[in-house]
């Protein structure tokens, strides 16, 4: 009973946020339909949501599509979540994702005619390494100069976009193609395990979620990360090195986001264009927050967001509601989550104080200095 109650304290805010967003979404659906056609169709919201559900879990193919969309969000969510655990706000998951994809495509193209047993691990490793380096940079800057990771990672996101476009238009460009586009990664492509495109990356993402839980809650390093996040002064007093933890955590977070980019490229896209990129790295922030930085929570949140992405086209086709509505719902979820204290007051939720340490870490990261002296 106690555990049940405690679980509710932790999940109440995400659950209520989702419910509110779905309701708000239906208002948006009905209103926009009324503005466009002049007809008031109260049933349209229900149609749209049932089409969304059909498209995400209504058939085997729909479920596969949901999982494929879930994988990068899950890895990205773990990346942002891990950083939150150390009191860091990794807005740079997007840049790390792109760098991971870039690393994977470079090495994948080089090894495209070799055995997959060599090509795949090499391309994945390259993606993870590139992501890790791209996470290491803001971590190192923070640890040595105190430069805030929010500022540096935002800047690095822009740099990543530019580097990627530059390389795809020059050294990586297929000479015979008029468009800036790379070669196909060939044998470095991830094997399809089930359905139309259920690739190996899904398994990696789930394994990483397990590894995340193990690292954070079962190891001494995880304890150091959590302590640094909750109270860097106490961490220093306890003989830990917050600087080292900051560098390490940002590198690991970068690696996870890099792996997200690599699996997405090797499992789904296979080639890279100059305008390559999605909003995965940013959605990952919402996933981490919705999952309250808990590994199980992040998996669930990633599945929810992945399902919405997978079902959006079906919603557009069957109900005529633009797929962009999914973006509206996701954004409002994030909105309610961030406005947590207000939501908690309106719904008279007991503060999640009873839930140890699961909440609260991330709200502190905006302004606080992790590294002192």
């Amino acid at each position: 009973m106690r555990t049940l109650q405690r679980t509710w304290y932790v999940i109440a805010l995400p659950v209520i946020s989702i419910a509110l967003s779905v309701m708000l979404g239906s208002v948006v659906i009905i209103l926009s339909e009324w503005l466009v056609s002049g007809e008031l169709k109260p049933g349209l919201a229900l149609d749209a949501y049932s089409a969304l559900l059909q498209g995400s879990v209504g058939s085997f193919n729909a479920i596969v599509s949901t999982l494929v969309n879930t994988a990068p969000l899950l890895l990205g969510g773990l990346s942002v979540g891990l950083a939150f655990k150390a009191g860091l706000f990794n807005i740079g998951a997007q840049g790390q994702f792109l760098m991971g994809a870039l690393g994977a495509v470079i090495v994948g193209v080089i090894f495209r005619e070799d055995s997959p047993l060599i090509a795949i691990p090499a391309a994945l490793a390259a993606g993870m390494l590139m992501g890790a380096i791209y996470g290491f940079i803001p971590g190192f800057l923070k640890a040595t100069s105190g430069a805030h990771e929010v500022v540096t990672t935002i800047m690095l996101n822009f740099i990543a976009v530019a580097v990627l476009a530059g390389m795809v238009s020059s050294v990586l460009k297929v000479p015979t193609s008029p468009q800036p586009i790379t070669l196909d990664v060939g044998n470095a492509a991830l094997p399809i395990l089930f359905g139309r495109n259920g690739h190996l990356g899904i398994i990696y993402a789930l394994l990483m979620a397990v590894a995340y839980g193990w690292l954070v809650f079962r190891t001494t390093l995880g304890f150091e990360i959590r302590t640094t996040g909750a109270n860097p002064d106490a961490a220093r007093y306890a003989g830990m090195s917050p600087r080292r933890i900051v560098v390490l955590t940002m590198s690991a977070a970068g690696m996870l986001a890099g792996l997200a980019g690599a699996t997405q490229l090797l499992g789904v896209s296979h080639i890279m264009t100059a305008s390559y990129g999605t909003t995965v790295g940013f959605d990952a922030i919402a996933v981490a927050l919705l999952g309250r930085t808990n590994p199980v929570g992040i998996v669930l949140a990633a599945v929810i967001f992945g399902g919405m992405r997978a079902g959006a086209p079906a919603m557009q086709i069957q109900a005529g509601v633009p797929a962009d509505l999914v973006g509206v719902i996701q954004a409002t979820i994030l909105f309610f989550l961030v406005a947590g204290p207000v939501v908690q007051r309106v719904f008279r939720l007991r503060n999640a104080a009873a839930a140890i340490e699961e909440t609260g870490t991330f709200t502190r990261t905006y302004g606080s200095e992790t590294v002192s002296r």
Binding site: R226, G239, A353
Partner: protein, 520 residues
């Protein structure tokens, strides 16, 4: 003055204030006569603050009434309370350091010249006049940030007087003062009382209450448990009332049997966070089974000294040796590994992680060692087992081990830290303000534990701004002033006044020729 019978200036009758799960005030009666200094004594959490919040209009009582000069009033808020002549001097001063004395005093009740301009001349005139009336000359143009703590407190009192306060509430006013400053402020308070002001003096320091108060009301767990006249009570009697059981105020420290030197510090220098030299050449020696107390007004380099000793701060010069091994500038973890433990002054900032459970806090400094970890893997079962044991052994009051540390009372939080640090096999124990802000019961417990550790052969360095604590526990006392040791005393024969003077000015009267500069 105590025998004067008169209508009370302030009377609180049957004040009851409930918060979810607790009754903070349970039918409290408190009457304060004009010209009376009335002490409100109680442990932390006894309900003193709630009662004063009710008086200051910050909290609405659920039951009961407040009478001023016999008239029932309903206070709407602090502004209302101030308008009716009630003022509060908080423990943490509510002053703006960059503003002048005059600006701070008029803040919120500015005398205006026309619509947009402050009447500075009038404000200055009134401040000087008030200061003279109560015997302290103050420069209205001085910046508050440049004043000593004792003078800042006088600014707070002036602020109240400027608002024509007839009833002054002082919340733990001496917590930050030296003994000399305390006596000076007491003189000010006596002067105010003589002029007809009523003063409510909140404290948990027994000897102070006995010295200053005309009457003493003791509250415990939200109830008034007794009222005493200073002439008819003792510290022991008050402590027992306050805690609800017999308390030994002075721990029996027994006789120390100092052994071999454990810690040797030679010419240690260290800078503070702003880069100024805060420790300017300190020599110390502590033997096994001995407590060396460092007395000093807060901010004279004690924090930096301790941090430099244990590896939180890199010394700029000098040498620290532990049992003959040089540990100067070693990392804090290697210093801990050599058998040193540290109880930090700021328990919320350094000593614990408030968001963590008790087991996690109880292994905060040893989580990486057997049996709590095997390699990089935590052993949750072992951590839990140890936590349960220590919660029992150190009488940490908590519903379960799984609560956040932030839900414990200050005394129990400190017990968590003490349980963690004292449990190890130690060579040197560094205690920095180990009982700051704690109630008598917790202080007694922690002092006993420290003595037990000493008797087990641990060398102890005790830093405290509470001179009484240093006097009670220390076998030897060193006085620190502006980054150097300015004198040492034998703990049993030390004279409180002499040490207090040395703390305040850094030098003794020339007639008193004693060893200075080093403790060896």
């Amino acid at each position: 003055m105590t025998e004067e019978v008169g209508a009370p200036a302030l009377e609180m009758r049957g004040i009851t204030k409930r918060y979810p799960g607790v009754i903070a005030n349970d039918h409290i009666d408190l009457g304060v006569r004009p010209g009376e200094i009335h002490a409100l004594l109680g442990e932390n959490g006894a309900g003193k603050t709630t009662l004063m919040n009710v008086l200051y209009g910050l909290a609405r009582p659920d039951e009961g009434e407040i009478r001023l000069d016999g008239e029932v009033v309903a206070l709407e808020g602090p502004a209302d309370a101030i308008a009716r002549g009630i003022s509060m001097v908080h423990q943490h001063f509510m002053l703006v350091p960059v503003l002048t004395v005059a600006e701070n005093i008029v803040l919120g009740s500015e005398t205006m010249k026309g619509r947009y301009f402050l009447d500075r001349a009038e404000a200055h005139r009134r401040i000087i006049e008030l200061g003279q009336r109560f015997g302290f000359d103050i420069d209205p143009e001085a910046r508050v940030g440049s004043l000593s703590v004792g003078w800042q407190q006088r600014v707070e009192i002036l602020k109240a007087l400027y608002r024509d306060a007839r009833i002054l509430v002082l919340d733990e006013p001496t917590a930050v003062l030296t003994p000399q400053e305390t006596e000076e402020i007491f003189a000010v308070l006596r002067g105010l009382a003589k002029a007809g002001h009523s003063i409510v003096f909140i404290s948990h320091k027994l000897y102070e209450v006995l010295e200053i108060a005309d009457r003493i009301t003791v509250i415990r767990r939200g109830k008034v448990v007794g009222q005493r006249l200073p002439s008819q009570t003792t510290e022991e009697d008050l402590a027992e009332l306050m805690v609800g059981r017999e308390v030994s105020l002075v721990v029996d420290r027994g006789i120390s049997k100092p052994g071999e030197p454990v810690l040797k510090v030679v010419g240690l220098k260290a800078r503070d966070d702003r880069g100024r030299e805060a420790v300017r050449g300190v020599d110390l020696e502590i033997r096994a089974g001995e407590i060396l107390g460092i007395a000093g007004v807060a901010g004279n380099g004690q924090d930096e000294l301790v941090e430099a000793l244990i590896g939180l701060r890199r010394p700029t010069d000098g040498q620290v040796t532990l049992e003959g091994h040089d540990i100067t500038g070693h990392s804090i973890r290697s210093v801990y590994g050599a058998g040193v433990a540290f109880v930090p002054a700021d328990r919320h900032r350094f000593g614990m992680v408030l968001a963590f459970s008790l087991p996690d806090n109880l292994v905060l400094t040893s989580y990486h060692r057997e049996p709590y970890a095997h390699g990089i893997l935590r052993d949750d079962a072992a951590i839990r087992r140890t936590a349960e044991e220590r919660i029992k052994a150190f009488d940490i009051r908590t519903p379960t081990a799984d609560v956040r540390a932030s839900t414990l009372s200050g005394g129990n939080q400190q017990k968590v830290i003490v349980a963690r640090e004292f449990a190890r096999d130690l060579r040197l124990l560094v205690l920095d303000q180990p009982t700051r802000g704690l109630d008598v019961g917790s202080i007694e417990f922690i002092h006993k534990q420290a003595i037990a550790k000493r008797d087990a052969g641990t060398a102890i360095l005790l830093v405290s701004a509470e001179l009484d604590e240093v006097l009670e526990l220390s076998d030897r006392i060193a006085v620190m002033y502006r980054g150097v040791i300015v004198g040492t005393f034998d703990g049993r024969t030390a004279d409180k006044r002499e040490i207090g003077l040395l703390m305040a000015v850094g030098a003794r009267e020339p007639a008193n020729g004693a060893t200075e500069g080093s403790v060896a």
